[in-house]
C-alpha cells in the first residue's frame, strides 16, 4: 500500500511493519533459475538448472563446494553468492585450523544468518540478493542436513526445498514425495532431484546434461559434482522412469474407456 514512500532505504520501516528493501531482495531470488535440495538420513543432493545468457555462452555454475562436507546451491545474484561462498570457505578453513576439526554446518549457518541480518540493519549496505540451499553433514553425529537462507537473514532447515524461477512445481513434487526420501538410496535421491527440476524448465526447453547439474554429499562421501557426461546416465534413467509411468497411465486409461458409455455426449 505504501510501497513507494517507504522502500528507498533498508533502514526504513513501512507502516505495515515491513522492510520493503529486504522483500525486494527476496524477489531477486525468485528471478534466479531453479535450485532444488533433497535429503535422506545419509545423503544430501542438490540439483540446479544452469542458465546461459545466449547459445554462444557457457552455463552459469550454480553448485559450489564449500568444504568436503558442505556444499551450496544458489539462486539470485551470482556475484553475491560467490562472495558468500568465499566467506563460508574461509570460515571452514579457519575453524579447522583453530579447532582441529571440520566445522558443524549448523554453526556455519548461524554465522551466515547473522551476516545476512547485519545488512538489513545498516544504512550503508544492501541485503544480499541471493538465496542459498546449503547441504551439510554434521561431522560429529554423521547426520545429513539441508538448510535454506534468504536475504532477510531467516534460516530454516528442510527435508527438501526448491528456490528460484518456477520452483513451485518442484516444491509441489517434493511435498508429495518427501516422506520417501529418508530411506532412499543415493541414486534414487538424485532421480528425485532431477524429477523436481524437470518441472522448473521454461516452456520449450528440456533438462539436458548441459543445463542440469547435480551435487551430492553423504556420511562417508565427500562433496562430488555430476555435470555433463557424468549426468547422462541419470537423465536416461529418469526418461525411462517417466516413459514407464506414462505407459502405465495410458494402460489405465485404455481400460477405463472400455467400460461404460461415453460421457459428455449430448
Amino acid at each position: 500500500m505504501f510501497r513507494n514512500q517507504y522502500d528507498t532505504d533498508v533502514t526504513v520501516w513501512s507502516p505495515e511493519g515491513r522492510l520493503l528493501q529486504v522483500e525486494y531482495a527476496m524477489e531477486s531470488v525468485k528471478q534466479g533459475s531453479a535450485c532444488v535440495g533433497v535429503r535422506s538420513n545419509t545423503h544430501v543432493v542438490l540439483g540446479a538448472l544452469k542458465r546461459s545468457v545466449s547459445e554462444l555462452s557457457s552455463h552459469q555454475k550454480k553448485l559450489l563446494e564449500i568444504d568436503d562436507h558442505i556444499g551450496i546451491g544458489i539462486a539470485g545474484l551470482t556475484a553475491d553468492a560467490r562472495s558468500l561462498a568465499k566467506y563460508m570457505r574461509n570460515e571452514c578453513l579457519n575453524h579447522k585450523y583453530v579447532f582441529g576439526a571440520p566445522i558443524t554446518p549448523a554453526l556455519l549457518m548461524g554465522d551466515l544468518a547473522d551476516k545476512h541480518q547485519r545488512t538489513t540493519q545498516t544504512y550503508v549496505r544492501r541485503p544480499f540478493g541471493v538465496g542459498l540451499l546449503v547441504a551439510g553433514i554434521d561431522p560429529q553425529f554423521q547426520t545429513a542436513h539441508l538448510y535454506q537462507t534468504c536475504p532477510s537473514g531467516n534460516m530454516y532447515e528442510f527435508y527438501a526445498s526448491a528456490i528460484g524461477a518456477r520452483s513451485q512445481s518442484a516444491r509441489t513434487y517434493l511435498e508429495k514425495h518427501y516422506e520417501s526420501f529418508t530411506e532412499a538410496s543415493l541414486d534414487d535421491l538424485i532421480i528425485h532431484a532431477l524429477q523436481a527440476l524437470v518441472g522448473c524448465v521454461s516452456g520449450d526447453d528440456e533438462l539436458t546434461k548441459e543445463n542440469g547439474s547435480i551435487a551430492f554429499l553423504g556420511k562417508d562421501q565427500k562433496f562430488t559434482m555430476l555435470e555433463g557426461d557424468a549426468l547422462q546416465p541419470y537423465l536416461d534413467r529418469l526418461e525411462l522412469k517417466n516413459a514407464e509411468e506414462e505407459k502405465d497411465d495410458d494402460d489405465d486409461e485404455e481400460e477405463k474407456e472400455g467400460d461404460g458409455p461415453q460421457a459428455m455426449e449430448t
Binding site: 563446494e65 570457505r89 578453513l93 579447522k96 585450523y97
Partner: protein, 269 residues
Amino acid sequence: MFDSAMPPKSKPLRSGGFNKNTSSIFDPLAGQIHNSEGYGATRGKIDHGVTENPYERRFSPYDFNGGTCVAIAGSDYAVIAADTRLSSGYEILSRDMSKLHTLTDKCILGSAGCKTDVDQLRSVLDIKMKMYHHNHRKTMTTPAVAQMLGNTLYYKRFFPYYAFNVFGGIDEEGKGAVYSYDAIGSFERTPVTATGSGQAYIIPLLDNVIAHRNRLDEKRDLLKEEVVEIVKDAFISCGERDIYTGDKVEIAVITKDGIEKTYFDLKAD
C-alpha cells in the same frame, strides 16, 4: 681482604703463577681463571662455559627436534623417507612421530627441525592448497606446490620457520620430482637430497650411489625397489653415527598409482 699472606690452596692458580704479593689493583688480569690457552691479548677471554664476566642469557624461540629426511627422484617414481625419532637435547620425546606429510596423492613433504614450526607450516600449506582447489577446481601440481612452499617460507624471512624440508612427488609428465629447501625458501629441483641432523652422512652416499657422481662405471636407471634398499642402508649407517636418528624409518614410494608406505626398524639406542 687481600690474602697475600698465604698462597691460595682451593682456588685455581691466579695469573702470574705463584703468589708474588702483587696487589690486584695493579694486575688487571688478576682474579680471572688461569687457562693455558690465550696469551697476551687473548688471555682470559676464552669462554669455557664458566666465566665471571657478565653475559646475556636469551630465550631461544627455536628448539631442534632432530631427525633426518631423504628424498630421491626416479624415472617414474619418487621415494621419500624419514626416521621417526623426535628428540630434544639428549632426551627422546617419541620413537614414533612421522616427519612425512601427504599434501596431495602425488606429493609428500618431509620436514626436520623444530616440530612446532613444521606443524604450523603444514597447516598453512594445507589451507592454501584447499583454497587453490576451491578456486581452480583441481588439485595443485607438484611443481606448483614446490613453488608455493618456497614462497611460504620466504614470507617468514625475518622470523623463519625452523623447518628443513625435502619435497618429493610426481610431476605432470609422470617423472619423479624432488626439491630441497633451506629454512627461508631457497629451493632447487634435484635428483637426490637429504636434510636434518644426519644429512651430512647421507648426502655423500646418495650422491655416489644414486646420482652416480664420481664413479667410473656406467650409470643405469635404478628400480624403486633398489632405491628403497639403498635408503634403508643409508639410514642404518646414519643411525649409527647420528644420535638424533634412529628407532624407525618411514619410507613412502610415490608413483602415478598412488602412495605406498612401509616401515623399517632401526636401532633404538
